[in-house]
Subunit: 403 residues, 2 copies
């Protein structure tokens, strides 16, 4: 809170523009001793040029040694300490697919699953059914009615969907129904506090009707619910930083977390870096802050596909001149966390960071964008929530503290 | 507070002596791509010798990206987090010219200004009149009497002066009277809370009498008041660190902030680095901590005078052997903030730091004192409030934590 109080007090508006380009999970570790990371292996002449003229450093997303999930990792980049600003998975997923979760509405993330004749789970993701298969099932589930309650269901992707309920007296303090293992039955929605009993009852009624509607499906014949949550009511980036921010992202999750902090989530065609940069160009005049999210670096990291990750980084670099042609007054290129291909998962390793601005940067003596060069950069290693003040500083959007 | 509790618990006194040599605004950025900063350009053989034998790092004054004012920047160097330890400009300025502000006294910074026949401000600094012109005006204003209240006026420099009122039931929660623009009349002093109404009334009475006394002046025919504040009652550096500290500074502001944390503010003749170092020599036996403040690095930075800044740094370096001849047990050479000539203003860029001590330093592999070498130094980048513990450590003034 102290941090936000400072930002509110010092913010000053002007027309300068900031780009925050996030290559999801960009940081890594070498696949074997003596080799380089994916970022270091990738040929990135454009990023290297910015690195030479700009300054490098490393970000800590949550705390040293803590591996972040995607939601908290992005909140941290946006300046919101995720230890203080917690948000449920249900809200993130729902916002991401355009289901508005107002304060008092309860959202959850749902997974289709497969149960045997005894009702015990045999596949927690229903054979990872495709979106084409899941879409009509979601439409069927969207016909369920609960008296006095508005219910809405929407597909996220493949076996994942969200459920939002709206009505009076609903609270979200409810246990997940996914038993986290096969061989057990899905759990009931159980309220952890008295105020949440009404909402838990609603979800249990809904689950009974859903299982009835799904019972003859070959794979997706049941479902589990998790991440019950309501709008956490965060201050917006406009409140805190005085910005008019836009989100350019392909995947729902990232649109969702951007909407939570008050970004204007943009629609556009295509899913390549160049499509996203074209969207930034289209909306350039209307905003002063652009969050641009590249997903595939993380996907390949999670798959352990080193060459794939290298290739995505190179494709972002190849498209970068298109973005720089917009003449941003400051740009940060970084990740939300590291996703080493060797680990096939998110990790706690510090996140490589590059900041460039045409006038006010203090350059260091590093000339490439990579993990080791960033560790030697003059920005040092700092908490991701401090990145926003740094970008505001480089665009003259913060007044002096004290006389 | 936790920080101070630790310091109080661990402090141990001895006869070792610390010098904190502050080159105000010493940090910078290159004037153009590929060039060096003023500190890197300056020929500093003596500092480089200390850099080679000592250790380098970077300080963050307030928070990353936050540009500090002079008062907060110095409090931070003295170990007082300025976000927690806030102090008004009135108190700083008054202490700086030797007007004591006790708790319950209200001080403000005042500026002479010029108003037209309609009472609208035409020059917020009264043509920047000289101290010679302002001094008799301040003496005239010092004759103003307010029933039941003690009032004192003192010149700071040129068009700047301070007013302190002393009496019962005074509080400082009062809006500035400077409208911050020409073409408007000076504002009345307005209390922001009920407890401050009496003090606001006093200042309004004073302002009415002051404008009457000044009305026939050609330039300084009115004044504005700002930074209403009382003694914040900070713990002293003696309380917190167990030190007997001395301040050697030329400019009032820096004497003021030193007095606030309990330093003994020394008088001496001259305003050159060698004069300040001679003062340190004179008072060497009486104190164990010497804050020595060099102002001109910042002044040239604010003027955008790169060569001037280089020259001041070189003059400090040339005089440094005189200081080192005192055989300090630890010395830190740093700034309170950066003042890049290119920006002509304070900035948020980290502050170069050099620490040397004859016995307990862990040296790094850097051999010059500059922004890039400091970014590579082994002290890393840390918050300015941690500098005091580092200096106490290098002079064996902190006990072990735990058995």
């Amino acid at each position: 809170m102290e941090h936000f109080d400072l930002m509110k007090r010092l913010q000053q508006k002007n027309s300068q523009k900031i780009i925050l380009l996030v290559l999801d999970g960009v940081g890594g570790i070498p696949m074997h001793a003596g080799s380089q990371t994916a970022l270091e292996t990738a040929a990135t002449p454009n990023m290297d040029k910015l690195a030479a003229a700009g300054a490098l450093g490393q970000l800590i997303s949550i705390r040293p040694g803590i591996t972040p999930g995607s939601g908290p990792a992005h909140l941290s980049l946006f300046g919101y300490d995720p230890v203080e600003y917690e948000v449920g998975r249900g809200v993130l997923s729902s916002n991401g697919v355009g289901l508005k979760v107002n304060f008092g509405d309860i959202a959850c993330r749902a997974n289709f699953c497969t149960v045997d004749t005894n009702g015990l789970i045999t596949d927690r993701r229903a054979g990872r059914i495709s979106s084409d298969v899941a879409q009509p099932l979601c439409e069927r589930l969207n016909t369920i009615e609960i008296p006095g309650i508005e219910v809405e269901v929407k597909l996220v992707k493949e076996y994942r969907f969200t459920v939002v309920i709206r009505g009076e007296g609903l609270e979200a303090d409810i246990e997940d129904t996914d038993p986290q293992t096969v061989g057990k039955a899905p759990l009931s929605a159980t309220a952890r506090s008295a105020g949440s009993e009404k909402a838990a009852d609603c979800f249990n009624s809904w689950l009974a009707k859903a299982c009835e509607l799904l019972k003859d499906e070959p794979q997706a014949n049941a479902c589990t619910l998790r991440g019950f949550s309501t709008d956490p009511g965060f201050p917006t980036m406009t409140d805190v930083f005085g910005l008019n921010p836009a989100c350019i992202a392909v995947y729902p999750m990232y649109k969702g977390v951007s909407a939570l902090v008050g970004m204007d989530v943009k629609s556009f065609n295509g899913d390549q870096p160049s499509d996203e940069f074209a969207a930034a160009e289209r909306y350039w005049d209307a905003h002063d802050f652009f969050f641009i999210h590249i997903k595939k670096t993380d996907s390949y990291g999670e798959d352990g596909n080193f060459d794939g990750k290298v290739h995505v980084i190179e494709s972002v670099d190849a498209a970068l001149p298109q973005l720089m042609a917009l003449k941003p007054d400051a740009i940060a290129i970084t990740g939300d966390h590291s996703t080493p291909c060797k680990m096939k998962s998110h990790s706690w390793h510090p996140i490589p960071l590059l900041i460039w601005s045409p006038e006010m940067i203090r350059p260091d003596d590093q000339n490439t964008f990579g993990e080791t060069s960033c560790a030697h950069g003059n920005l040092g290693t700092f908490h991701a929530t401090e990145l926003m003040p740094m970008l505001l500083a480089h665009t003259n959007k913060l007044k002096k503290f004290g006389a």
